[in-house]
C-alpha cells in the first residue's frame, strides 16, 4: 500500500508535518485529501517497508543520529532498552508525557554545557534534503541564528526562507532554542526551503 497526493507518492519515512510543508500550498484545503493505492508501488521513489519493526528501527536510528550530533551519542547509548521502548510506545500511542519523560534527557545540553555540540537538522530542497555540521554558537561565543545556519548551508544565497510546522520562523531565532523547541519527535529540525 502507498499514499499519493497530487501525483506525488508520499515518503512514509518523512514526518507527516514535513510532507505537509513540502506538498501543501496556501490554497489547498484541509483536511488534506490523499489517495490510497494498493498496486503499482513506486519502487524507485518510495522505500518499501515490510513490518512495523522496520518503522521503529528507522525512528530509533534517527534519534541516535541526532544524539551523535548533540551529545556524541552518549545519552542514547547510555539509555536502557526500556527507555527506548518507552520513547517508541509513547510516540506510537500519542502519550506525550510517556514520550517526553525520556525524550527530555535527549533534548537537554549534557553535563555543564549550555549548548548542543551540533544542531541536528535536515533541510529539504529539490527532491531530497541536506545535512551539515552546524554549531549552535560561533567561535566567539555568540548564539547562532537560523540565518547563520542557512548561510552556512547555502553560501552566498541570502534570500532563502524555510518553513517548519506550517510556519516560517523568524531568521533571528537562535538555533539552540529552535532545536530544543521545534524539533520533531525524531529529534531533528526539519526545514523545508520555500
Amino acid at each position: 500500500m502507498w499514499l499519493e497526493y497530487n501525483g506525488q507518492p508520499l515518503k512514509w519515512q518523512y514526518p507527516i508535518g514535513v510532507l505537509s510543508d513540502l506538498l501543501l500550498g496556501p490554497d489547498d484545503l484541509l483536511p488534506w485529501n490523499i489517495t490510497v493505492h494498493f498496486s503499482k508501488f513506486p519502487e524507485s521513489e518510495v522505500y518499501r517497508f515490510d513490518s512495523k519493526e522496520m518503522v521503529e528501527s528507522y525512528f530509533m536510528a534517527c534519534l541516535k543520529e541526532a544524539d551523535v550530533l548533540k551529545h556524541r551519542g552518549q545519552i542514547a547509548s547510555s539509555m536502557q532498552k526500556k527507555d527506548h521502548n518507552q520513547l517508541w510506545l509513547g510516540l506510537q500511542n500519542e502519550k506525550f508525557d510517556q514520550f517526553w519523560a525520556v525524550n527530555r534527557k535527549l533534548m537537554e545540553a549534557s553535563g555543564d554545557q549550555d549548548y548542543f555540540k551540533y544542531i541536528p537538522f535536515r533541510c529539504y530542497i529539490d527532491d531530497g534534503y541536506r545535512q551539515k555540521l552546524v554549531k549552535p554558537i560561533s567561535d566567539d561565543n555568540h548564539k547562532k541564528t537560523l540565518q547563520d545556519l542557512l548561510e552556512e548551508l547555502f553560501p552566498g544565497n541570502k534570500n532563502i526562507k524555510v518553513k517548519t510546522h506550517g510556519m516560517i520562523p523568524p531568521m533571528e531565532t537562535p538555533l539552540q532554542w529552535l532545536s530544543e523547541h521545534l524539533s520533531y519527535p525524531d529529534n531533528f529540525l526539519h526545514l523545508c526551503v520555500v
Partner: protein
C-alpha cells in the same frame, strides 16, 4: 575460498560496478572535478559479515545508502533475500534514501566515511 575464485568474485563485482557507472580505479585527488563530486568510503565488516577484499571505494557523492547496500550485497554475493545493514560511527543505521554526501559532510574522519556492514542488526 581459493585465491582464484576470490579474483573472479572481485572481477565480477568490478564489472557490475562499471555497469552501474561507478569508478573502480583510484581517483586522482589533484583533479578538482573529482574531489568535488566523489567521496571516499571505507567499508568494514562487523559481526559475522564476510570481509571485502577491497575496502576503500570512491563513490559519487549523490549516491544513496540503499545503492551502497545493494552494491555490497552484490560484491559479497549474498542471496537477494539476505539482509545487510550499514552503520555510521558504529552507532546508527542511515536511512536507505540518505545521500552519501550528507553523511560524509557530518561524519567523515580523515577524509573518509567509515561504514560498518553486517548481516544482522548491530548497535540496535
Amino acid at each position: 575460498m581459493s585465491e582464484e575464485t576470490q579474483e573472479t568474485v572481485v572481477q565480477e563485482a568490478t564489472d557490475s560496478l562499471q555497469s552501474m557507472n561507478i569508478r573502480t580505479e583510484p581517483v586522482d585527488s589533484s583533479d578538482p572535478e573529482h574531489t568535488k563530486q566523489k567521496v571516499d568510503i571505507l567499508l568494514k565488516p562487523t559481526g559475522n559479515a564476510p570481509i571485502m577484499k577491497k575496502k576503500k571505494w570512491t563513490v559519487d557523492s549523490d549516491k544513496k545508502i540503499g545503492w551502497i547496500i545493494e552494491f555490497v550485497k552484490k560484491y559479497l554475493k549474498l542471496e537477494p533475500n539476505e539482509k545487510l545493514f550499514l552503520y555510521v560511527n558504529q552507532t546508527f543505521a542511515p536511512s536507505p534514501d540518505q545521500v552519501v554526501k550528507n553523511l560524509y559532510d557530518c561524519y567523515s574522519t580523515e577524509g573518509k566515511l567509515v561504514l560498518h556492514y553486517c548481516k544482522t542488526q548491530a548497535w540496535g
